[in-house]
């Protein structure tokens, strides 16, 4: 590595600037986001769950908090703040499970503070954020009992999964829950695409916060992503031109 990786720093600051910038102007120049059917269905499913007194289950996957794979779980926790707020109407709190000890602790902390902010601190139950199993397969092994014993009707997967994603979704489908799932591992996305009714493709899993209304910076993030997305597309095209004519000359 060179002393300073300028490309990287540049990209980092571009992200920061765009996110904060869009957040700052979001009130005056609100953005419109494309419709993602899965999220709309999720909203309705959560309404139904709250009406029916069923539980919403959020699965944070099997990734470790300190690894790069924890990103979708962080996105899931951000969405949880909003889901908890929504389910604070219900008499049954959301249940959150993880395959990593630290992630399970974060789930509890998020539940506690979210219910607190929603004025439903009494709904917080320390066991509603839990570690199901410390390895990927022992984690999914714990899902069926959670889904069936705690009459879960919304099963949201937002975390890192390997092949176990397929099982995690299947258990939800068998429990006749509304299943929505997304992850950062592309092959697992393919499994979710096949096994769930409402797959979240690619980076959509990171947009849950914005689509569930978890905050301005979430919407700003999507705008920033789009700007950089277009920038990357242009860069790649330019790069191709340069590479092509660089060779030719």
């Amino acid at each position: 590595m060179t002393a300073i990786d300028l490309q990287g720093l540049l990209l980092l600051f571009a992200f920061l600037g765009l996110m904060l910038g869009s957040a700052a102007i979001s009130r005056r120049f609100p953005a419109t986001f494309r419709k993602i059917a899965a999220f709309e269905a999720l909203g309705k499913a959560i309404e139904r769950a709250v009406e029916a007194g069923d539980r919403v289950h959020l699965s944070l996957g099997t990734g470790s908090v300190i690894g790069p794979e924890s990103a979708p779980a962080f996105a899931g926790l951000a969405a949880l703040t909003r889901i908890a707020r929504a389910t604070s109407m219900s008499d049954r709190p959301a249940v959150v499970t993880a395959g990593d000890g630290a992630m399970a602790i974060l789930a509890r902390d998020t539940l506690r503070s979210s219910y607190g902010e929603a004025g439903a601190a009494d709904l917080y139950d320390p066991t509603s954020g839990r570690l199901l199993g410390p390895t990927p397969f022992s984690y999914v092994a714990g899902l069926p009992s959670v889904l069936s014993n705690e009459n879960v009707s919304v099963h949201m997967l937002s975390g890192f999964y390997g092949f176990e994603a397929g099982l995690a979704a299947e258990f939800g489908e068998r429990a006749r829950a509304f299943v929505i799932g997304g992850t950062n591992e592309v092959q697992s996305q393919a499994l979710l695409y096949a096994t769930t009714q409402n797959p979240l493709l690619g980076e959509e899993v990171f947009a849950s916060g914005a689509y569930l209304g978890a905050g301005d910076l979430h919407k700003a993030s999507l705008r920033a992503q789009d700007v950089i997305r277009i920038a990357l597309i242009v860069l790649i095209l330019l790069g191709v031109v340069v590479a092509t004519f660089g060779n030719l000359i």
């Binding site: 957040a23 009130r27 005056r28 397969f137 092959q187 393919a190 569930l212 919407k219």
Partner: protein, 647 residues
Amino acid sequence: MCGTPNHGDAEECTNCGARLKPLDVSGSSKESEDWLDRMREEAEESPSPGSSGGSASAEPDQASTEGADDFSDLRSAETGGAGGSEAESSEEEVPEWLQRIREKKAEEPSGSDEPAPEDALRAAARASPVSEDPAPEDALRAAAVASLASDEPAPEDALRAAAAEVPSEAEQPDGPPEGVEQTPEEKNIPEQGSETEPASEGESPEWLEAMESEDGASEADLPHVPALVGGAEEPADEELGDLGLPDWLGEIEPLEDESASTAQEGSSDLAPATLPNWLEAMRPVDTFRSVVEIEPEDDQAVESVGPLAGLSGVLLAEPVVAMPRTSSVGSLQLDVSERQYAQAELLHRLVEEEEQVAPAIPKRGVRLAVFRWAIAAVVLVAVSLPIITGAPSFALPSLEPRELGALFSLVERLPLEQPVLVVFDYEPGYAGELEAVSGAFLDQMMARGLPLASMSTRPTGSALALIALAPFVDRYGYENGQSIVNLGYLSGGQTAVQLFAINPREAILEGFALPEQVQDVWETPVLNGVEVLSDFGMVAVITADSESARVWAEQARPNMADTPLVVVLSAGAEPLVRPYFEGTDRTIGGILSGLPAAVSYELRNGRPGLAQERWDAFGSAMLAAELVLLAGVGYGLVFWWRGRTPA
């Protein structure tokens, strides 16, 4: 409901007694808790106050009317503003009002959902030339309120009624409740911001100012289900305030808002359709533009000559009235406001979706179970036959994948004095595949007598390494602690890979399953020459997920100098790792993936292994799988074409 203007702090309309303020005129979290508790109580008392779009208007429940009232108005208020832009906000609110209508429709046998809202749009536009898009929304609010106050009116009647009244003073009392219910997010509705700027300058009814002070009140109302998707920005406010953005950015926010605040405050309390039309007509063009990012074609919506110069949307009525009844194509050419347009659009989408999604939700039943059993039986039989009877048998692949030759010669060239590090980065579940795929690779290395060190970033990986290496250790007489060592578990997952890459000796402290006499794994003959990662002759990562391959390629590669990095992958992950293999800098020096490649590898080694052992069972299983998928496609297509819903 009556239209009598009321004093700002009046609790009820002096004339008709309609409540002008919600029960929760508070912004403090304490009171918000009260509010929530009350909501919860109501939610328990009545089956579903307002939680389904229809309940507010379609089934007025006296026990929960209050809650439903708050809910329904709140919903429209929230969703109206939530989106933060016309299309989004309408995408938000339309489902709600459409749902109400649909549910009401469901009660009345005749009529489809579609016409009603369109009528509403048209009626609204016809009735109030200057009042823009919000009309239908207000019509619906009016409908909701009306049907709550008295059970009888069908929403769509209420719609038309309310919509027709828009320009008159008659519905003004609808304003106050709505004004009160407005969320701060309602500020985001640009037309309102623009509409009401004159209102705040000019003679806006007193109750408006009164309501302004109560903006905060509605914050407490936000934690509320229906607004979930794309929903209430209220958490956002929290973020920008005490919970969200870094404080210094939080400070920026108010500045940003101040410029528009005058207009927005007004707007936040004033429901668009409740504006008297003379006030509507006063809206100057530039304000409209400054607040909303409108598309160029909207400029046509602004009258440029004649007495109405500068008024936006003035000419809307005519084209809208002329709009063909059944097709919304017309609306493309016509200058219908974006919100009307988006509502019509969403209506279409929803109707289309209804046709698609509803059947798409599978009815789980006996038939599905039968399919499951049948497929399971087919696959199990297909796998078992070759194992039990030895037939069918399949020819071994004669073609080698392009990259196999490179990998083979890479291993052949490795210096015997440098140890090879093999990382077993997979869970026990994958062992069945990865042991078969990596077998030939390990075989080649150990047949050459290369000193071997194994490790894993997963707690169970070290045990798996023992299992995977055992046959070759016996076959080639490797001695634990002398020619092969197990470094054990590298804690910290993929983050620790960096630690290991930078300083292996500090990152891993304990060996795994070492003989008694070995005190320090790093002092064994295998590793005593290894100080940094580049001292290894090669690093091979056996993994099932591309993420861990990627991490090794990214985090460890920079510390590996010329030491090649080889990845043995589970089938399917290959496309994700290939860019690192094919890229100009070739961070990955070799790839081995899939059973056919492994069989070819064994053929090159000239020693049959697990891959060939599994080949026949794998072959017949794959055939069965292909048949199952083909059958599925055929089955699906048949029902698809016949337009029927399969179980």
